[in-house]
Amino acid sequence: MRRLGAFAWDFVVGDDWVGAAGVVIVLALAWVLVHVAHVAAWWVLPPGVTAVLAVTLRRAVRPSPVRPPPQ
């Protein structure tokens, strides 16, 4: 069961959970704009998705944390 869960997680979320979380946030924002603010929200989605891709790529190539030299 745990392996199945791990497979499903890897399948949907992949290497960086920020990508999946970012998708949820962008879609939630669009939903709020459409249903609460009654705004035509199509213009939110492409830039929002682009920002999610930029963040997840930035995280992938960030500098490694500096580790103290071995004692």
Binding site: F11, V12, V13, G14, D15, D16, G19, A20, V23, V24, L27, A30, W31, V34, H35, A40, A41, W42, L45, P46, V49, T50, V52, L53, A54, T56, L57, R58, A60, V61, R62, P63, S64
Partner: protein, 249 residues
């Protein structure tokens, strides 16, 4: 236009996954024998067919707006994963998917034990696992793209054409299809899945796209430009930071 785009997306995604599955099946078959390998392939195909038979009608019973939000969000997350990997591979921050190296590794591992008499469970498991895991991605993309666009036959035709073509070429070559431009294909599929995901998730939530379906090619072009810019920007970051760059997972 929509049907052709759906078929092409399913074709390219299925071709990439079939090439990967073929490498594993060839490694198992050529080193351990074909009987157990093909039984493993057949068992995996039966499992995938049962999944399609169960999920296909179930998907058509879900209201289209809910289906488009859920499947659109999943396609979007999936497309961004493909795009992220393709960008990282293009700039050298992640190793390219090397079919020849994977074939060599799988072949060497398969030679460590002698094939058993009767059903060779090593070959069976290797082929079954390879086809099932790669096939699940194909099933998800074909059902997701096909059902959301109401073009399931086009998606299935695209995927079937890719599987048949890849298997024919693989059988002729009798080796891994290392010369298939896998990363470029993943790039295109990543852009296509992100396009469909954005469009359908938006529609499902009540977003009205300017021009309706005509927004799809515009979105595809937009994300194509974004992907190209992401490669340039990420390459600059990798070059500037040199060996201090974290290894991309």
């Amino acid at each position: 236009m929509n049907g052709l785009a759906v078929a092409l997306t399913a074709f390219l995604a299925s071709a990439v996954e079939t090439v990967e599955a073929l490498t594993i099946v060839l490694a198992a078959g050529l080193t351990r024998g074909w009987r157990s390998t093909l039984i493993g392939v057949a068992a995996a195909l039966v499992l995938l067919a049962v999944l399609v038979a169960a999920l296909g009608p179930a998907l058509s019973a879900i209201p289209i707006s809910i289906l488009r939000v859920v499947v659109g969000a999943l396609l979007l997350a999936f497309g961004l994963q493909w795009l992220r990997k393709a960008v990282l591979r293009a700039v050298g921050a992640k190793p390219l998917h090397d079919e020849a190296a994977i074939f060599a590794r799988q072949t060497a591992a398969a030679r460590t034990t002698a094939p058993a008499a009767g059903v060779d469970w090593y070959a069976f498991t290797l082929a079954f696992k390879g086809v099932t895991l790669e096939g699940l991605e194909v099933v998800f993309i074909v059902l997701g793209v096909g059902a959301s666009a109401h073009r399931l036959p086009a998606a299935v035709a695209g995927a079937a054409a890719a599987v048949v073509l890849t298997v024919i070429v693989g059988a002729a070559v009798r080796g891994p299809l290392a010369r298939v431009p896998e990363n470029t294909t993943k790039f295109v599929v990543g852009v296509a899945l992100t396009t469909f995901g954005t469009f359908w998730a938006g529609e499902g939530m009540g977003v009205r796209w300017p021009g309706s379906d005509a927004a799809l090619p515009v979105l595809f072009a937009f994300y194509g430009v974004v992907a190209a810019a992401a490669v340039a920007r990420t390459r600059r970051a990798v070059t500037a930071r040199g060996p201090d760059v974290a290894v991309a997972s």
